[in-house]
């Protein structure tokens, strides 16, 4: 439920397909581009896209990597054979971009568009509170620099009709007059497409004139995934890939699927599977604060996961969630023992005893493993039926040979972190 980046290939295909609808058919962009993934067979691509063999090409990894051009991840003006070699050399190899390391597995291949650097422009749109902001700069490309300060900006109010907005005067005053009309038309129709299809961000840098044709050369976009139900049939099979360098583990994938099926919210991110400090926190807000506190006490290196459950999940859902976390935390022993923090604020309407019932079931199931891993459990929670929930946790501590300490609203929410970790490192 948020703004999510999508692949350049998907953006390009979507714009190529939909743009004519927003311009009475008069604005189009080329829709020639193909995707190469681990399982792709070059021969099939060639067969379906004969232009690959006859055209000079551009090849880039398509995995939400920032500043590809700067780190040498763009191949320009290549033949199909050169492109294939370039991809083969890099696919399934690790690369580092900035602080992030990840494996390359998806590429975009499209025709190389010969053009002059002076014909490049910077064009972007982003969602702001009042509506949307369009940024335009008379130069573009990887060396465009700080567009925040340089670019012309124009806010289109949420109820404004872009056809009645002075795009020419506000954004295009520095472009040559013979190109103004074409650029304005492109900006207006692209804006309509953007606004009508759940975009939260779209950057085309550069967009360039090749002869008299305006062609987007490099695109990045984010969609507001909550708009999915309004954009049915137009988003098709758009993928929301994880950020570069982040790959879902099977457990994360399992919780992700559980979350998608459920009306409640269930999130899990593994930070360090060997970490000693595991958390199982109720609430989107509280989960961030618990994580802050663990990190603040100097245990960032020991923190194993980020996650939350909220929105009144059923007992079965909390059981599945708890089981997944407990299973992960008991896979590899650590002689210093491990800590499980079952935290949360004071719920408004979530039945604490009901959600705890699922956690308790999972804890019972893993009793042996919890003992073997010397797990200590710290609980803090408030809200409807919390007394019963805490009592059940304490009772469990009596019957299970696993130490459990349970606290209620009289204890500050994050105090159990200090109690558990012993005052910080």
């Amino acid at each position: 439920m948020a703004q999510k980046a999508i692949r350049e290939y998907d953006v390009k295909k979507m714009i190529a397909r939909l743009l004519p609808n927003y311009s009475g058919g008069s604005v189009t962009i080329p829709d020639k581009c193909v995707q190469v993934r681990l399982e792709t067979k070059f021969a099939d691509l060639e067969h379906e896209n004969p232009w690959l063999v006859t055209t000079k090409l551009v090849v880039k990894p398509d995995q939400l990597i920032k500043r590809r051009g700067k780190v040498g991840l763009v191949l320009l003006d290549a033949s199909w054979d050169e492109a294939k070699n370039w991809i083969t050399e890099r696919i399934n190899k690790e690369i580092t971009s900035g602080t992030v390391t990840g494996r390359l597995n998806t590429f975009i291949v499209e025709p190389f568009v010969p053009h002059d650097a002076k014909d490049e422009y910077y064009f972007a749109m982003r969602s702001v509170r009042e509506g949307d902001e369009i940024l335009f700069y008379r130069q573009g490309g990887i060396d465009v620099g700080d567009v925040e300060t340089k670019a012309e900006k124009l806010t289109i109010g949420i109820f404004d009709d872009v056809d009645n907005v002075d795009v020419e005067g506000k954004l295009l005053k520095n472009v040559s007059p013979d190109r103004m009309a074409q650029l304005a038309k492109f900006i207006r129709s692209t804006f309509k497409l953007y606004a009508d299809n759940g975009f939260a961000y779209l950057e085309i840098n550069p967009i360039a004139f090749a002869g008299d044709r305006l062609i987007p050369l490099d695109l990045a976009a984010k969609l507001d995934d909550t708009a999915g139900f309004e954009c049915k049939g137009r988003w098709d099979d758009i993928e929301f890939p994880e950020p570069f360098g982040k790959r879902r583990t099977p457990e994360e994938e399992y919780i992700h699927l559980l979350d998608e099926k459920s009306g409640a919210s269930l999130k899990l991110t593994i930070l360090n599977p060997k970490g000693r400090v595991w958390t199982m926190i109720a609430g989107g807000g509280a989960s961030v604060i618990y994580t802050d506190t663990v990190v603040g006490l100097g245990y960032a290196g020991e923190l194993a996961n980020y996650g939350e459950y909220s929105g009144d999940p059923t007992t079965d859902e909390t059981y599945d969630y708890a089981r997944t976390v407990i299973d992960l935390m008991t896979q590899e022993k650590d002689e210093r023992g491990k800590i499980l923090i079952i935290g949360g604020g004071i719920a408004n309407f979530t039945d604490v005893a009901k959600t705890f019932a699922g956690i308790i079931k999972a804890l019972k199931e893993y009793e042996r493993k919890l003992i073997d891993n010397r797990v200590k459990i710290y609980v803090r929670r408030g809200g409807p039926n919390y007394q019963e929930g805490l009592k059940q946790m304490r009772d469990l501590g009596q019957t299970l040979s696993v130490p459990i300490e349970a606290y209620g609203p009289e204890t500050h929410m994050t105090s159990i972190v200090r109690i558990a970790l012993g005052g910080g490192q």
Binding site: A2, S127, I158, T226, K246, E308, F349, G382
Partner: protein, 618 residues
């Protein structure tokens, strides 16, 4: 608005609301809150339930009240023009159109949108519409908020014990606003533990474009003279907190502000992390929690070292204001006791009550339905027969095979006896009068009694009694004759010694083969021998046979206790067997008549003898 509130107040003690969506718990919690706050009238004026209109019954303290329910917001607002708050429980799909509709209604001024997952563009449209009209939206993706001692939105603040523990039943001096709905309740608690409590507490919701922002509410609090200090819980992502630090610098916010921006942990993640809230993602250094906390601190806000110290920081500022005399603590008002909900108290084992109904045969209160302790899955998987099921529900146990098979055999044999017998005839006549199945079958069943079907019971009773008193068949016959009673279970209109009833033949053969012994049958057959000597149609009929064999089935086996045999006779098990069995046939006749589209039955004149008294003409 009916009452003129200052602009900085969204609610007061007279505020009433329209709830979109039939959320009974939330409504009750609002009314309970009202009651502990000493409100004189409930804060829920009306409910919009698109499925049906009518009335919703709820408690207001110890009394019950009826809350009107309408199918459209427009109608609810027309009927309740003084309800200026709209609480929208619509799903993420319909939150936009329903909120927009409510925004257009002139009497509605404050709207809370609970749904999570409202498209951002729609949220922005709603926010802009509200702004143009000078209205307030709280949310989307929030639990709402509350004004202590006056009004609470939906589920905000949790249960009544929490309301009281966090001093939300009366106003304090602190204006609180947070992004997170879940954390707003925790913050109410932290504020209450470190000051005289909140005056107002709003959760703006975790979306990127909330209808109203932290800043919007802080400015309201700033304008409110009852609020002496501000507490705010921000979050990484976005730039709202910079607007706040600007407002501090420009003195637009002059009251002391204790604020903490959560998400300081984000720096340890190597890739961008989407935290629980949609807006909780930092784009660039400026949107990080550390940068925002620093900026706020530099702008003059009270920023704790960590969330751990938040409470202490609040206390520190509060004590300063108290020392200065800015805050004067007020005495606590008396809190009316809200009676505990029966179901909750029962669940918590605080109360007990003798139930009005006791049931010892089946149980649907657990995970799986059980018949006399047997889970329904076992009944099916182990292939229990209908006879076995009757054993479970009538005798409360699994009967031996010979017994349940006998019961099933009796059911089959007595299921129907053609259209001419009085029960089937009545069912047919009723069906043809255009009545429904229930009426037609009931009309047939109601015919069952001493002359039709009821002979089973009587036969069992009289034969058993005679046998047990060791009367000879002759003595038994004479006794009955002396009392003027025809022996039940003996005699048939059509069948005779020469033309035996196949059903009786089958029953007798089964019993002889499968029952441990059949002494009562043997005795009855001796009686039959005597009666048929008098008239050849005075045979043991099917009713008699079933009744007598049922006694044999029970009396000659250790499976059945003596008192059970007695209760079978006393309570009419055997009649039940006949009713159950014959219902199958009557339903058949009903369906048959309907299929054949038979017209109203009228008995022919020529089949009636009219013999009326003569009236003498004067």
């Amino acid at each position: 608005m009916v009452d003129a509130k200052p602009d900085y107040l969204l609610f007061d003690k007279n505020t009433t609301s329209i709830i979109y969506g039939y959320h009974q718990y939330a409504i009750q919690r609002m009314l309970d809150f009202d009651y502990v706050c000493g409100r004189t009238r409930p804060s829920v004026a009306a409910i919009v339930n698109v499925e049906c209109s009518g009335w919703h019954k709820a408690f207001f303290g110890k009394k019950e009240v009826l809350v009107p329910m309408y199918t459209t917001t427009r109608e609810a607002a027309q009927m309740h023009p003084d309800a200026d708050v709209f609480i929208n429980f619509a799903s993420y799909r319909s939150a936009y159109p329903t909120t927009k509709e409510a925004l257009e209604i002139p009497t509605i001024w404050t709207l809370a949108v609970i749904a999570e997952g409202v498209p951002e563009r729609r949220a922005k449209e709603l926010a802009m519409l509200a702004k143009q009209k000078g209205k307030w939206i709280i949310g989307p993706a929030t639990v709402g908020g509350l004004m202590a001692g006056a009004f609470k939105i939906a589920n905000t603040g949790g249960t009544i014990d929490n309301i009281i523990a966090s001093k939300l039943n009366r106003p304090g001096s602190v204006g609180l606003v947070s992004i997170s709905g879940g954390m707003s309740n925790e913050m109410n608690n932290i504020v209450a533990r470190n000051s005289d409590g909140v005056y107002e507490s709003i959760a703006t919701g975790g979306d990127v474009f909330p209808g109203s922002t932290l800043m919007d509410h802080l400015l309201r609090y700033e304008a409110n003279p009852e609020i002496k200090m501000l507490v705010c819980l921000g979050e990484l992502g976005g730039n709202e907190e910079y607007r706040i630090s600007d407002a501090l610098k420009s003195k637009k916010i002059a009251k002391p502000l204790v604020i903490w921006v959560t998400g300081t942990c984000a720096k340890i993640f190597t890739t961008d992390v989407q935290f629980g809230h949609a807006a909780a993602k930092a784009e660039g250094i400026e949107e990080t929690a550390d940068a925002k906390n620093k900026a706020l601190s530099e702008a003059g806000a009270y920023v704790p070292k960590s969330f751990d110290d938040f409470g202490e920081k609040i206390r520190e500022v509060y004590e300063q204001l108290k020392a200065k005399g800015t805050i004067v603590e007020k005495p606590e008002p008396a809190i009316p006791q809200v009676p505990e909900d029966f179901s909750a108290a029962l669940k918590a084992e605080k109360i007990r009550k003798a139930p009005n109904i006791i049931c010892t045969i089946s149980d649907d209160s657990g995970q799986e339905l059980t018949y006399a302790g047997y889970p329904i899955s076992q009944v099916i998987e182990k292939g229990f027969t209908l006879g076995d099921v009757i054993g479970l529900l009538w005798f409360k146990r699994k009967l031996p095979r010979y017994a349940s098979d006998f019961i099933e055999m009796a059911l089959k044999i007595m299921a129907d006896h053609g259209p001419c017998v009085s029960g089937a005839h009545n069912a047919i006549v009723t069906a043809r009068a255009g009545k429904d199945m229930m009426s037609s079958v009931a009309s047939g069943i109601l015919t069952i009694g001493p002359r039709f079907g009821g002979a089973i019971d009587d036969a069992a009773r009289y034969f058993k009694s005679a046998y047990e008193r060791k009367l000879t068949p002759k003595q038994f016959m004479d006794e009955m004759k002396a009392q003027g009673i025809k022996i039940p279970g003996i005699g048939h209109r059509v069948k005779s010694v020469q033309n035996p009833d196949m059903r009786v033949t089958l029953l007798k053969a089964y019993a002889r083969k499968n029952f441990p012994a059949t002494p009562l049958l043997d005795y009855a057959l001796k009686v039959e021998k005597l009666t048929t000597e008098k008239k050849n149609n005075l045979i043991l009929n099917v009713d008699g046979c079933v009744g007598i064999l049922f006694m044999d089935m029970m009396m000659n086996s250790k499976e059945f206790k003596k008192h059970e045999v007695e209760s079978v006779l006393e309570l009419g098990y055997l009649n039940g067997l006949f009713v159950l069995s014959r219902t199958i046939g009557m339903i058949g006749h009903y369906l048959d008549q309907k299929r054949l589209k038979q017209p109203l039955y009228r008995h022919p004149y020529d089949d009636v003898t009219y013999m009326l008294p003569e009236v003498r003409q004067e």
